[in-house]
Symmetry: C2
Subunit: 402 residues, 2 copies
């Protein structure tokens, strides 16, 4: 088994052949002198995998990326991302602007036409300020050290940049993401860009990313609202050499594990930095009829107002957990359902156990609250992440006026 190890201060520019950088183009109007325009580029062609939002009312950036992926046969060089304007609900003009933004970045980076993708996050219903973007793109100087700037530039109301990199065998996988930020009048867009210098066979690259996203980012919830812009992209440039990694090999297993480890890290970073969050909520469902049902229940748990409130108050409220299981449509064997809260079994055989609520409450005061439920039906399982619901969340999302 190939070991997976984290790279200290690793970013999306850590893998060989990738560079990143950012500038302040004046798009993000809140804050002063924050970075808001970023470029991530490979010095050679990459195979590209991507997953996009399932929201039907999508940003123009998503449509532009899909048309470029198709035309370019799922290859490319890099991505240009702005924060401060989501280019969503912008109609035909949004498509024209998104394509133009790619071309500007290709010119600046000396990359082939059609090889860049685009990401936009921020206010929706407004057109991209193309003059500022054109000037800004020319100011970006991607370097091997620029991964941290990239991570900062794609933030909206995120409180901290989110990045990481892991080594697996001779290869590196890096990435950065943003999420759970909110700017009027938009949604908590999640953007994630992953890079690797491993040579990965194109179809395997895509299936690996899809599977990892299902088990990581798709199991994160801050508030249950998907955005028109959610994006995860993975660029593989093969710069570290070696044989092409295909399904069924040892290195394929290592690659898949590396992707899941890094995506899990980034997903938890998003949950922990959820708007107003003071705690990470980690929910594990076991004994479900299928992994799919386990994932469904994880999401129902991490989006429950009552459960998220109880987590915020460190209230060992097994009743709210049981209520979510009860209202869900996932199959259960009722007398076999068990609930474990921060390591203490609190519910089994249809009744609360004889536990000490004060001790459980004490455990819930930590920065991570874990809930494990066994449904007593089958072998399906899943783990997902959310955060507590705080008055600060309401304040962030209510006390903003157009």
């Amino acid at each position: 088994m190939t070991a997976i190890t984290f790279v200290p201060d690793g970013t999306s520019a850590s893998p060989t052949g990738f560079r990143a950088g950012a500038t302040y183009a004046g798009i993000k109007t809140y804050g002063d002198g924050k970075l808001d325009l970023a470029i991530l580029v490979s010095d050679r062609d990459c195979d590209v995998a991507a997953t996009f939002t399932r929201n039907r009312l999508r940003s123009a950036a998503i449509d532009v990326n899909e048309e470029r992926l198709t035309a370019g046969h799922w290859t490319g060089r890099g991505v240009v991302v702005n924060a401060g304007c989501a280019n969503s609900s912008t109609g035909e003009q949004g498509l024209v602007d998104g394509r133009r933004m790619c071309e500007l970045a290709e010119d600046a980076a000396g990359a082939p036409a059609g090889s860049f993708f685009v990401g936009s996050t921020g206010v929706i219903g407004h057109f991209l300020p193309m003059d500022k973007i054109a000037a800004g793109v020319r100011n970006v100087r991607p370097t091997r050290e620029g991964g941290m700037d990239f991570a900062r530039a794609i933030m909206t109301t995120d409180l901290r940049p989110k990045f990481g990199a892991v080594r697996f065998g001779p290869y590196t996988l890096g990435g950065s993401c943003k999420g759970s930020g909110m700017i009027h009048p938009n949604m908590a867009t999640m953007l994630c860009y992953l890079t690797t210098d491993a040579p990965v066979e194109a179809a395997f690259l895509r299936s690996t990313l899809s599977a990892a996203v299902d088990r990581t980012f798709n199991l994160v919830s801050v508030d249950g609202d998907t955005s028109p812009s959610d994006t995860v992209m993975l660029f593989a440039n093969g710069a570290a050499g070696g044989e092409t990694i295909t399904a069924g090999t040892d290195m394929a297993l290592a690659f898949a594990e590396a992707v899941e480890v890094l995506c899990t890290h980034l997903a938890k970073e998003i949950a922990r930095d959820g708007e107003g969050a003071t705690k990470l909520l980690e929910v594990t469902i076991t004994g479900a009829a299928s992994d799919t049902e386990a994932r469904q229940l994880v999401r129902e748990m991490t989006t429950s107002y009552l459960l998220k409130s109880a987590v915020h108050g460190a209230d060992p409220n097994w009743g709210r957990i049981v209520a979510v299981i009860g209202r869900s449509t996932v199959r259960i064997t009722e007398p076999k359902v068990t609930v474990t809260l921060c390591g203490t079994r609190v519910f089994e055989a249809g009744r609360p156990t004889d536990h000490d609520p004060a001790a459980v409450a004490e455990a819930m005061h930590g920065d991570t609250v874990t809930i494990t439920c066994d449904l007593g039906v089958g072998e399906g399982s899943a783990t997902g992440w959310g955060c507590d619901l705080s008055a600060e969340y309401v304040s962030i999302n209510a006390d903003y006026h157009t």
Copy 2:
């Protein structure tokens, strides 16, 4: 068309032949001297219709009611309700206690064995204090004027009692409900008891209640968590005489409309009194592929964290409304989707309209915020109710410790 008119100060004891009353039995431990045990009784046998929670982990009271409805062929005399203990997650003992509570009320009211039903709301995982209930039941003196006491006694953390009555032709329909209250560690249980002196054919009584509940209480959401105890019951004693009302007659139409009007009134009262609520949110979906899809989207709207936060802040945030439509699975004709917020069209043809956000924000400062969305697909429609998400909601549900 028979006119439906509200009865001033009408309650569940307004229809002929019904009496109600309550006492303080010492079950509700918060507050001083609050009523917490209530009886509603008819002086003659009633046909009974009922709908219960869909949560699979149900309170013993629900199980007891179902066994009594079946055994009694959907007839009965009344209901005994306590607040302060939900008799949920109480196993076999809970069933024994629930049945005993019915018997105690039947004895006290001089009603036949098997003719009473039971409701319990409050803390879960605790057994009913049967001594207090036995003593309390003997203290209740149901009267024609006792409907308000009944409405007060079934409250948990509700801020105000919820009741009403309407006249249709020679008949009266009354009712009271509680909901959106929360006591550790339980759920926002909704209980509703309706009464009428009209003689209604049993099957028609049940189908009418089901249809009305689907269009009213099932379209109310404070936080999306159903409780193990949710109940709506309708007692028809025929005391006002006349021909039995059967489907297809003019009086049947009047009765169905009366039930829907009163349930709508009570449902809106619940939404408006939602925990921490400062505003009523009324969402209407038109142009859906079916009424079912319209109802689904109503519920997705009224449970959205982002939308509820925007309503709280009177933020004319059409982007959050559009995002919910986009992430929903209901069918839409995308270019035809329109969004109207407090009377102003804010979104159409995939773009925000040229509206004045400040004027819409001003309208949203009222105590009711209305959202109307047309999906441009078909003839399906629905209206439902929710409330805003406030810091107070979080405080109510987080700052309680076991």
